[in-house]
Amino acid sequence: MIWARYRLSRRTIRAIMRREFTDVLRDRRSLLLTFLWPISMLLLYGYGIRYDINNVPLTVLDYDRSSHSRLLVEQMIESGYFQLVRQAEHYGDVERDLITGASQAALVIPPDFARRLRAGEVVTLQALFDGTDSNTATIAQSYVLAMVTSFGARLEVAHLERQSAAAGISVASRVWYNPELQSVNFIVPGVIAVIMMIVGAILTALSIVKEKERGTIEQVLVSPIRPLELMIGKIVPYVLIALLDLTLVITAGYFVFGVPIKGSLWQLAVFSVLYLTASLGIGVFVSTIADTMQSAMLAAIFISLLPAVLLSGFVFPLEHMPVGIRALSYFFPGRYFVTAIRGIYLKGVGLEVLWPEALMLAAFSAGIVWLSASRFQEKLG
């Protein structure tokens, strides 16, 4: 008899699930939100946010006018990252170009450039950047550095070959994991994190609070349905939708943007399910604190979406955040998921490296599911 209390009715759960599906499929807005939106978000972020840059307008002031200095400038232009705006005659031109915005970067080559290179001395070049667009400036800076270094290294190699003298030190820097520094490779995993949060947390919370707001929940609660049956019936449809969205984004990422998955698919699935559990937990939790759809939307955005965008490393690198904010990011599942999924996507690593993330995600999921389930039971039971 005692087990009868815990036996769940499949029929009841099925009735709730069917209604939930009908609701999503019949409402054009929720249909857009669940299917069109993830894809448009991927396209928007994929084409819109670019961390890599091309054709940075560059002003060059070449005091040396030697073959070496011309070679350096040529190589920079040929790389495609820079576009020569002007060969300046005076330092004043450089300043004016940066102030007017005609150029975003400037390179000043000293008069004794070629001579000192040949003598094997250290040469200092001056590179100036327009810092008002700090993002471009930072990236352009790293490009200039990389190119000057590689120019120096090549010269050195040529030098060594000619003299076959003792080995010098050369700096060879290479970018790993994302060799073309393509931001879309970075973005697809981030988009997955955000979409799973939206479907898992926001849609689930809204679907429950909608019933509270319209009063239909009362009619359901007066029936012999158990809170657990109601919760399962409400959640399963969104799990399926989220998994469908996940597949959609991965496929679109692969075919539209050519983002391959280096790691294993099933590990990606394991992390996704863990993360999805966390976001569903957040969704149910929000539904127990909010009484109107509007407040549920706000609460869900604050608790789930914003951290998933801002504190996950998706848009802003976590290493560059102030300590306090970075500390905050440890309390949200986004950072673990984004770290893990990027690892799987780009580095091809798996649980042997990502187990701390897996553990943290599992712990977070277990905690939030326990919290929200007990609150749900208490509020509705």
Binding site: R18, T216, S223
Partner: protein, 315 residues
């Protein structure tokens, strides 16, 4: 439940919200098989009471049984034996008529041939045959109420709670709805219905009046009228109204005066005497009386009297 005398039998039922006592130690006994009307103005505590009886709201205090199940310990078992329909229209508006019926059949675990039979019955009863695929949102209010009632009784509950089922519905639909209630009652269903329409209260076998959280009277409509309005009642149409109201309060042989629209209901000891005296009495004070009739007391008269006698303060 067949050998149960009272479908609802609770004592000292109380609910406090923060510091507001919504329902204040009420005792209710509803004989099985009756249509029991629970009357009171808005905010008197009708919905709070009904929600406690249905097990969706925990009482602050009180004890008793509903449908033979203990209010505290067996509320889960009770839930499969009762039907509930609330004033707030509580069907899924974005589902069709049939989908709503299917949904509630699923929730109440009505399945197989019984599901088909009950859904067909509900469609028939609500007059919705042929409209199975209409979106519920597109139905007129009267149809929706009938559909909601159909959904609430799919599982054939012996006890039915209706919380202001006819609010916001046109008079014709209201009458239709009460015919459905009568039909259910004929089949032996105990119906507990709240309302603030006096004409609806007349349809009930028994009534309880709740005012400011307290039950101030119980009994059949006839009982309430005869017990609380023992004297004769005259209806006067005086002009001007307010001076007549003030004057009659002081008139000899007058026990009570109440305003009903542009008329006065005057409680008197001797109807025939007063019918002659009162127009003269008012005429002396420059008030014209165009009409005087002896009337049967209505429930409204009874309730005005009950509330005055009870001494419960409005809140």
């Amino acid at each position: 439940m067949t050998d149960l005398e009272f479908a609802v039998d609770v004592r000292g039922l109380t609910r406090v919200f923060d510091h507001f006592v919504a329902v204040d130690h009420i005792d209710l006994r509803v004989r099985r098989g009756l249509v029991f009307g629970f009357l009171g103005p808005n905010g008197a505590g009708k919905s709070t009471t009904i929600r406690m009886l249905c097990g969706i709201l925990r009482p602050t205090a009180g004890s008793g049984t509903v449908g033979g199940f203990d209010l505290w310990r067996e509320s889960e078992a009770l839930k499969s034996r009762l039907g509930y329909m609330s004033q707030k229209f509580s069907l899924y508006e974005d589902l069709t008529v049939e989908e709503n019926l299917q949904f509630f059949a699923g929730v109440y675990n009505v399945h197989g041939s019984q599901r088909r039979r009950r859904i067909a019955w509900a469609l028939e009863m609500a007059g919705l045959v042929g409209r199975e695929h209409v979106l519920t949102r597109d139905l007129a209010a009267g149809w929706r109420q009938r559909l909601a009632l159909g959904c609430a009784v799919l599982h054939e509950p012996p006890l039915l709670f209706l919380d202001e089922p006819t609010s916001g519905v046109d008079p014709l639909s209201r009458r239709r709805f009460w015919e459905m209630i009568a039909e259910l009652s004929d089949r032996g269903v105990t119906v507990f219905v709240t309302t603030h329409y006096m004409d609806e209260a007349e349809h009930c076998d028994e009534l309880a009046l709740i005012y400011a959280g307290k039950v101030v009277a119980c009994g059949s409509p006839a009982q309430l009228k005869s017990e609380h309005v023992p004297h004769a009642l005259l209806e006067l149409t005086p002009s001007p109204l307010m001076p007549a109201y003030a004057a009659l309060k002081e008139a000899p042989g007058v026990l009570g005066v109440a305003i009903f629209g542009d008329r006065l209901h005057v409680t008197v000891a001797d109807a025939d005497q007063a019918k002659q005296d009162l127009p003269l009495f008012l005429g002396q004070r420059g008030i014209v009386v165009s009409k005087v009739d002896r009337i049967e007391p209505s429930l409204e008269d009874a309730f005005v009297a009950i509330i005055e006698q009870s001494g419960v303060q409005e809140r």
